[in-house]
Amino acid sequence: MTKKIYTVTDLGPGDGGKGGVVHKIATMMRAHTIIKVGGFQGSHGVCTSRGERFAFSQWSCGTFEGIKTHISSRMIISPGGLLNEADVLRYLYGIHDPFSLLTIDETALCATPYHGIASRIKEMARGNNPRGTIGTGAGEAYRYSQRYSHLIIRAGDLARPDFKDLLAGVRTQIQSDLSQVNEWEFLPGDREAVEREVNLLNDDEFLDHIEKYFREAAKLAKIVGHDYLGREILTKDGVAVIESSHGVLTDSYYGFHPHTSAIRTLPCFTHAMLREAGYGGEMVNIGVFRAYAIRHGAGPMPTADPKMLESLLPDSHKEENRFQGKVRVGPLDLVQLRYAVKVCGGPSAFDGLAVTWFDQIITNGEWLICEQYPEITVLKFPATDNREELFTFCADILGEKLGIPVRMVSLGPTEQDKICK
């Protein structure tokens, strides 16, 4: 047996279809573990050939297959969210003991609802110039951890006797940071929401509630030492998959400021984590993106074309929320893709590409690609519904334009619709 790790990296600003790709690789290669990095706010959709359909947050996209999830030290978790996700998995999908499939590195950073409140209030204070956030507090927890080391809550702290004091300390700091909130300007439509957030922040019963839920999560979850990754997971024969949140274009350094995540999203940081854990086996790096450009949230999107929304996203994902705004789509942006590949180390940093949602392009009959702004090339499909030929058509074009071989093309929602070569 060999040891092999697949790293799946979104080469866009997120929403690239990582969920289905991770699920496909983990299923096909019979992975023993999926290792999560990034933040819990990532929602990774999986649709199985058995009919299950769920957007995973903290459990990995291999959960329906009974594959174990390890939340690494490079993941920001929501302990309360773990309880909610576990109940959904239990009652809707018959995964009766989801915590038995989960281990959490004791050093994983915990976001609290207070970080979420701070994130949402700050975003609302930006009025019509949003940074682009989901507002769950994952990024805010990271930023606070950089600023106030004494207020860091890690998974291993959840069972501490003085945990409530730590939590209260986070709240006090956020209360202090937001003490002038009454003088800030907000859009008229946001004022009521801000007031609700402030009330929650100051509600002592809410503090008790959070403590109770966090402690409950700590009881149910198997929180393991930082060396568990190297000692127990990476020493196993077989395959593991790295499932990361976000995309390269929201990397805190190489992303487009200010529309970036607080964390680093490049695969080299994951590789460093594996090296630090003593891993010396084979690594396979897969870059993922949709066959068209997509962005949910603020940030530059030169090829955005509102007219393409209905044809590319029929009946789905068009809901607007206060923090991410509308989903935007447009022709595949090879300029941004090349940039993403370059900041990851160039084409040689990847062993293959996985192109998702190609079926939607096929349905529409033409493929719009932008090689340089503002020119759009329209590609016509060969007259075939042969999956092999469609794969080759996609692979030849993108392989040539990006210098990386295409190894997976998604022609539908389930793992059976993903063609791998």
Binding site: R50, Y91, L92
Partner: protein, 372 residues
């Protein structure tokens, strides 16, 4: 995934954790409901996708197959009247829970017991129904019982358990029924019910998406032509051994429920405290794991008085004895340790097939592990 089952130890730990030292077990939930006007989603009939599911528990094996960890899941859904004088019934159900589990598991050997004990009130109450999830471990069953919000002082005659029976019929998905077996369903009350079901009440209880969910679960119901209570029970009987357990001997109650369930499915329950004994006697007789001549002794051995035991025996003598055992697939039901190719498959693979088939047919996905 998961292989824990109910035990006295975990029950004790759960009651310590979820039940307040003083007052009714549901005190916290009642207070919360008073503040928010809402039920906890675990017991809200509209919560967690509306449909209640009783599914097998599997563990994925390294060869890609799914191992059944406990046995064929057997759902036992009960809805207990908590109106008026029956307002304390959640505390009773909680108290007798270990006995209920032990007795039922004794007459259901080899099954994975999945229990959902809810409560019902009246349409004029704040909450007409609390419908929990099917559960198999003490912590979750106890937690859900403590999340119920009984009306206590409310309730008139008749009552409205038929909304709970409606959910049991059209909003329940069970593996047992997929393989041609039936689960168990009990309605416990001292009052008659009503004949008709109202669309507005259904939406109030189960949410606006109720008819979409019913369709998702494989039934077609026209909201403008709803089935009657009798129709609903007749449909329920296709997937469950359903019974009305009558507390107190009032003629209007007997008359109403006999009309709905048939006389053979209305069984006397001398008091809610004896729910475990009566349920297990019914289940044992239906499964063929208890003989009618042994029922009286079985009841007496389990703390039922002589007179109550005689009453119960007279009552259960008329139920469809052996009804489960006579179902064609009864002897074929999967057992602990059986291997399934897919977790959604109806039947396990034949062990012979497993040893002789090529690897591809036993779970190795096509494409194999040769990609990259």
């Amino acid at each position: 995934m998961g292989k824990n089952t109910f035990s006295r130890d975990t029950y004790e730990a759960a009651t310590k954790r979820f039940v307040a030292a003083e007052g009714p077990a549901t005190a916290r939930a009642e207070q919360k409901a008073h503040e928010t006007g809402k039920l906890n989603p675990l017991v809200d009939p509209a919560g967690y996708g509306v449909i209640r599911r009783s599914l097998p528990r599997f563990e994925k094996q390294t060869n890609g197959l799914w191992l059944l960890t406990i046995g064929t899941p057997m759902p036992i859904e009960s809805r207990v009247d908590t109106t008026g004088s029956m307002g304390h019934n959640v505390d009773v159900a909680l108290r007798v829970l270990p006995k209920a589990y032990e007795l039922c598991s004794g007459v259901l050997p080899g099954y994975d017991l999945q229990i959902a004990t809810g409560i019902f009130g009246d349409v004029c109450d704040r909450f007409v129904l609390c419908r929990p999830q099917f559960e198999m471990i003490a912590g979750k069953i106890v937690e859900q019982l403590t999340l119920m919000v009984p009306e206590r002082n409310g309730g008139d005659r008749p009552e409205d358990p038929h909304y709970g029976i409606f959910g049991a019929t059209y909003l329940t998905h069970t593996y047992a029924s997929r393989i041609g077996l039936k689960g168990y369903d009990f309605t416990i009350s001292d009052a008659p019910g009503r004949d008709l079901i109202d669309e507005c009440q259904l939406k109030r209880i189960y949410g606006d998406e109720i008819f979409i969910k019913i369709a998702e679960n494989g039934y077609q119901i026209d909201p403008h032509s709803l089935p009657t209570t009798i129709d609903v029970v007749q449909e329920l009987l296709k997937r469950a051994h359903a019974f009305f357990l009558q507390v107190e001997n009032t003629s209007d109650t007997t008359e109403f429920w006999t009309k709905v369930f048939g006389p053979e499915r209305v069984v006397v329950l001398p008091s809610t405290e004896l729910l475990p004994q009566v349920q297990s006697a019914i289940i044992g007789l239906t499964e063929g794991t208890l003989n009618l001549q042994d029922v009286e002794e079985f009841l007496k051995k389990n703390n039922v008085s002589d007179s109550d035991a005689k009453k119960i025996v007279r009552s259960v003598a008329n139920i469809p004895i052996g009804a489960q055992a006579s179902l064609p697939n009864f002897g074929k039901r999967p057992k602990k340790g059986d291997l399934f190719k897919e977790k959604t498959d109806l039947w396990p693979i034949d062990p012979i097939e497993f040893t002789t088939e090529s690897p591809n047919k036993t779970g190795v996905p096509e494409g194999g592990p040769n990609w990259l």
